[in-house]
């Protein structure tokens, strides 16, 4: 997932948010417009958007550490035997991961406060949860390999 997609909400997402907000289509025939407004509200909340960016960046750090560890292991580890060197690499990255996990934990504490502003609107609140879930559930491979776009200026 690229960060530029964080505010997207296609039809599946639309329906998903409605269900998570427990809003029935019969009780609120205008739910689609209400949901659209709620999504716009979340999109235009600068503080929330900054938070999402920070969350995304921390996740990238995890991915980076994962890559580094894999590279180091493929370079130094013996595939047939566990070696002291391999254990040392494990320990080194365990400490690094724990450090980033602590940062992530701190971010999550902030999230609850920030999301309170959407509390009065179930659609906005649930969309904000879906957004953080997107980041949380994203696969590192998807984050590492940005999608090709025809207008990419760097494209040779």
């Amino acid at each position: 997932m690229e960060f530029s997609e964080i505010n997207d909400c296609d039809r599946y997402c639309f329906e998903n948010v409605r269900q998570l907000a427990r809003v029935s289509t019969s009780s609120n025939p205008n739910w689609k417009r209400d949901l659209l407004q709620a999504i716009d509200r979340v999109r235009s909340d600068a503080e929330w958007q900054t938070y999402l960016r920070e969350l995304y960046d921390v996740h990238l750090k995890f991915c980076l550490l994962g890559d580094e560890k894999r590279e180091e292991l493929s370079r130094d580890a013996d595939p047939h035997n566990v070696t002291p060197r391999e254990i040392a690499i494990d320990d080194k990255y365990d400490a690094k991961f724990k450090e980033v996990q602590a940062t992530l934990q701190t971010l999550y504490y902030r999230q609850a406060d920030l999301q309170r502003r959407f509390g009065a609107n179930p659609f906005a609140f649930q969309f904000s949860i879906v957004q953080t879930s997107r980041i949380q559930n994203a696969n590192c491979a998807q984050q590492r390999s940005p999608r090709y776009t025809p207008n990419d200026a760097d494209d040779p």
């Binding site: 894999r70 949860i129 559930n137």
Partner: protein, 249 residues
């Protein structure tokens, strides 16, 4: 059949941004339903086993980058298990011991490192996906601790297990007057009725409890597969336990 239908019904809800996690959600349902089936198989056995606790029958999934993820059932042979029930009634049979399952149960309320590792294996986060798992587990740990409803369910099911084991002990130690006298026959009939009624009551209580836990796990699995997997391991740990042998009198 029931599993297939439920999977189909819920598959529409599962389409998340990532196909990977949608697939995991479906797998999760298969696994939790499997747990329920196992519990009831165990219930139907209705015997006290003195075997030590067994490894939960978690299902391993294919690596996350595979599109068609198929659950791979653990084929490890499992012995009989005893499932417990809630404290619907105090111990009503006189002269029986109620000192079953006295092991420390506080560990069952937490998902320790081993529990997390089982959840990780269940979701298929191997070494190549360590970063993803490390991300997932931070949130899952925090939410799991804060989930008082789930902790209540765990405590209740532990209590149910204790009660059910006591019941089974009563049943195994029942003494009824022998002989063909009228009184002896009446007493035997009363005993049989008591065990039948109590057994049914306890099993119904268990069924309700299992359904509640299953529903809660499924709800959580929509947004946090890692937390749901950890809950699943916790549930397995409780229901895979066996009754301890009653102390000698």
């Amino acid at each position: 059949m029931r599993m297939t239908r439920e999977l189909l019904m819920k598959s529409a809800l599962l389409r998340y941004e990532s196909n990977f996690h949608g697939a995991i959600g479906m797998l999760f349902r298969v696994a939790t339903l499997t747990v329920v089936v196992l519990w009831f198989v165990s219930l139907s056995c209705g015997q006290i086993s003195t075997a030590s606790a067994q490894t939960p029958a978690v299902q391993k999934v294919a690596p996350p980058d595979q599109k068609d993820v198929t659950p791979k059932p653990n084929t490890t042979a499992k012995g009989k298990k005893v499932i417990t029930n809630e404290d619907l009634e105090p111990h009503s049979a006189a002269g029986t011991t109620d000192k079953i399952i006295t092991r420390d149960v506080s560990s069952l309320l937490n998902c320790d490192t081993a529990c997390e590792q089982q959840a990780r294996e269940f979701l298929g986060y191997d070494a190549d996906y360590e970063a993803e798992w490390r991300i997932q587990v931070v949130r899952a740990r925090r939410d799991l601790i804060a989930d008082s409803e789930w902790r209540g369910m765990l405590s209740q099911s532990i209590g149910q297990q204790r009660t059910y084991c006591n019941f089974l002990t009563q049943q195994s130690q029942k003494t009824a007057p022998s002989g063909n006298s009228w009184d002896a026959q009446v007493q035997r009939a009363r005993n049989a009725k008591y065990f039948e009624t109590m057994g049914n009551t306890l099993r119904q209580g268990l069924e309700t409890s299992v359904n509640r836990m299953n529903n809660h796990i499924n709800e959580v699995g929509e947004l946090s597969p890692a937390r749901a997997a950890m809950m699943n391991v916790q549930a397995h740990r409780i229901f895979d336990r066996t009754c301890d042998q009653p102390p000698q009198r």
